[in-house]
């Protein structure tokens, strides 16, 4: 049966459309957008008072499958995505084994087809086995459906390999997604290097670990004329480097996570292991700088870096705990609370960072509301607040520093490929 979304405020950053409209969905696609569409013989969603946005797209998700199905699977990760309003998620390749072979790209697609609620797009590795020694078969990975390349979790520290990778992807028209971190500077660090690493006696990760890596990558980008996407920017100077590179005309795009525009290293004082993240939570000035980067367009997109870990892994001392937190289910709330309500971005601008901008990076015609497009839609109440409860997460893991927070922006329905994949209980 056809699905009719009635009376919602349609906000489509791609076209700038912002008005109350009905949307008719049939055969998985948007059939009609109009002031009034008759509701006879149609399943109706009353979206009155709600915002109807293109479904969100996350360029940076860890689904942990294959290898760490105790933390997350493609199925559970897709459920968390649906609850967070994401209709497309890009699976990072640092799985066990890493996605460095076409058969593994196919595995992700097969598994997603079997059980995922939303669209799952695999990112493949830059280097074989993520070892940073020689290139993965990027051409064949692209043909199998990889949408980008990244050794996420590790920086490609070998400058010659990075140069060749940047050159080679030019013929594939895909971005290299770089986890910019010089690990010779990180050493045994577990949090931002600064006042709190000093008082807490925890080893610091200097901001320069990120900045040195970004700078080298940008130099090689200039040399090769390729396309670089800088993952999870966390430092003020990192933002500045990307800004300057864009001014010079380099093809560079970048992302920030919700936790990096929300929290600072001060949070680590709780010794809550859900504040242990790479890159680490930085300082006030960095939070301000990534906000400014979002505002002026230096930072193109918001990506979650959803990184599930089990309770068993996280309920240990700070040094032993793994890095990473989940993010799919709290992203919208943090975007509205920290960026929209504080006046950094308008809601329309914020939605662009979650929809059409990542779609452009993927080179796909998703992330927009138009007739004939794939029916990926997120319907949320921008006013309604909700409490982040551990028991409510649909992710297999609950490692979030935002448990107990009140967030605005409740996702009420998520529609992916024309199907309702999430519906809020209340």
């Amino acid at each position: 049966m056809a699905l009719l979304i009635q009376g919602g405020r349609v906000m489509d950053p791609a076209s700038g459309r912002n008005e109350i409209l009905d949307i008719l969905i049939e055969g998985g696609r948007i059939r009609e957008i109009a002031r009034h569409v008759p509701g006879r013989d149609r399943k109706i969603i009353n979206a009155s008072g709600k915002v109807v946005s293109p479904g969100f797209i996350d360029l940076h998700t860890h689904l942990r499958q294959p290898g760490r199905e105790d933390e997350e699977t493609i199925e559970t990760g897709s459920r968390a995505a649906a609850r967070g309003g994401f209709t497309t998620i890009c699976a990072m390749p640092n799985t066990e084994p890493p996605i460095d072979d076409p058969s593994l790209v196919e595995f992700v697609y097969d598994e997603a087809r079997r059980c995922a609620l939303v669209q799952v797009l695999p990112i493949a590795t830059i280097s074989r086995g993520r070892r940073g020694e020689d290139l993965s078969p990027m051409g064949r990975l692209r043909r199998a459906g990889a949408v980008g390349f990244s050794d996420d979790g590790d920086w490609v520290s070998d400058s010659n390999l990075m140069r060749r990778a940047l050159e080679y992807v030019k013929m594939l028209n895909l971005p290299l997604i770089s986890h910019c971190e010089d690990k010779t500077l990180t050493q045994e660090g577990v949090m931002n290097e600064g006042y709190y690493s000093t008082t807490l006696g925890l080893r610091g990760i200097p901001k320069e670990a990120e900045e040195v890596a970004i700078f080298r990558d940008l130099v090689l980008l200039g040399m090769t004329g390729s396309w670089l996407h800088v993952a999870h920017l966390s430092t003020s100077r990192g933002v500045e480097l990307v800004r300057e590179a864009k001014k010079e005309g380099l093809k560079v795009t970048s992302e920030v996570t919700p936790h990096h525009f929300t929290l600072t290293h001060k949070e680590v004082r709780s010794f809550n292991t859900n504040t242990k993240i790479r890159p680490p939570l930085r300082e006030e000035e960095d939070v301000a700088a990534v906000g400014q980067g979002l505002k002026d367009g230096t930072i193109d997109i918001i990506a979650t870096d959803h990184a599930p870990h089990t309770v068993e892994e996280k309920e240990v001392d700070y040094i032993s705990a793994p890095f990473g937190i989940i993010g799919l289910e709290t992203a919208l709330g943090l975007v509205i609370k920290e960026l929209v309500e504080k006046g950094t971005l308008s809601l329309m601008e914020a939605l662009a960072k979650l929809t059409v901008n990542p779609a452009r990076i993927l080179g796909m015609s998703i992330g927009r509301i138009e007739e004939g497009a794939r029916a990926d839609l997120t319907i949320f109440d921008p006013e309604k607040t909700w409490k982040v409860e551990e028991e409510e997460f649909l992710s297999k893991s609950t490692n979030s520093p935002f448990i107990g927070w009140e967030l605005p922006g409740k996702v009420e329905w998520t529609v992916a490929g024309g199907k309702v994949v999430y519906q809020s209980r209340k």
Partner: protein, 307 residues
């Protein structure tokens, strides 16, 4: 003074009044140590578990003695990561020992925040006996006690802490404690062993012991921890000795009545020559004696009274 804490995790979150109250309480326990029978029934029927996940001789023995002199039953568990090697987490280990009905944990662990984890998750008292490079509150309290005993006050004193500040929990706890009681603290060491933004803790930083020791009342020399250094070690111990060890000439820059302290164990001949370690200005062994009294006071304050 109402001391109502469940745990002693660090000096940073103690008020000056609480610190002074602990020191005053320790004074009455110090007297007990001079008696022929060095024991009181204060904690009879209480059980304290000493969990040491890092090597320690002095601190562990000091706690055990303090417990025994208060008539508490003491269990000691030392293991350098052994239960972790078997797959048991810290919290599991503690929960299992708690199931045997103990009243207090004394924890030494390599990870900052490990005692905070136990304190948050368990309903019994937790005493931090050193968590990584974070804090070592009982050490700072015994240092404060010893300084106050000798000088009659803390306020207005000048103290220099010399050595590997980055890796020292003793330095951090003393910086908080001395600062809260109104002393001026200087830290001194090679730049590779001074952590960033430490000035914001209220200390002055110097790379020159000649500058740092000028006119101070108290000198605290820290152990150069060979086992913890990776890359940030000064190029060689010989070079370190040449630049930072407490020589007679450097000691002469301090006040005539300056005290020389060390949290131990001393690398004799590296940061401190034997002659000074054993000399008349050294109060290193007083620190050790007072440590028992201070730990008795803390155990009493946490366990001996109704909370």
């Amino acid at each position: 003074m109402n001391f109502k804490r469940k745990d002693l995790l660090g000096i940073e979150d103690l008020s000056p009044e609480e610190i002074i109250f602990i020191l005053d309480t320790a004074k009455s326990f110090r007297e007990i140590l001079e008696r022929p029978i060095k024991m009181v029934p204060t904690l009879r029927g209480k059980t304290v578990a000493n969990l040491f996940f890092e090597p320690s001789t002095r601190t562990r023995l000091s706690f055990e003695l303090a417990e025994k002199r208060l008539n508490a039953d003491a269990l000691s568990f030392s293991s350098v990561g052994s239960s972790v090697a078997k797959g048991e987490t810290l919290l599991d280990t503690a929960k299992n020992i708690l199931a045997m009905k103990v009243d207090c944990f004394v924890l030494r662990h390599v990870s900052p925040g490990a005692p905070h984890l136990l304190a948050r998750e368990l309903d019994v008292s937790v005493i931090n006996a050193g968590d990584g490079a974070h804090e070592h509150p009982t050490q700072a309290l015994l240092d404060l006690y010893t300084i106050r005993e000798r000088k009659g006050r803390i306020k207005g004193l000048k103290m220099a802490i010399v050595g590997d500040i980055t890796n020292s929990r003793v330095a951090r706890s003393n910086i908080w404690g001395m600062g809260k009681l109104g002393a001026e603290v200087r830290v001194c060491g090679p730049p590779t062993l001074i952590p960033p933004d430490i000035e914001k803790m209220g200390v002055k930083v110097s790379y020159s012991p000649e500058e740092a020791l000028e006119g101070v009342d108290v000198i605290m020399m820290l152990r150069i921890q060979k086992e913890r250094q990776k890359g940030s070690l000064p190029p060689s111990l010989d070079e370190y000795r040449e630049f930072f060890s407490l020589t007679e000439e450097r000691l002469d820059l301090a006040r005539e009545d300056a005290l020389v302290m060390h949290p131990g164990p001393v690398n004799r001949g590296v940061e401190l020559p034997a002659r000074i370690a054993d000399g008349r200005k050294s109060i290193i062994l007083d620190q050790v004696t007072n440590g028992v009294a201070v730990r008795m006071a803390i155990l009493y304050l946490l366990l001996g009274r109704r909370r």
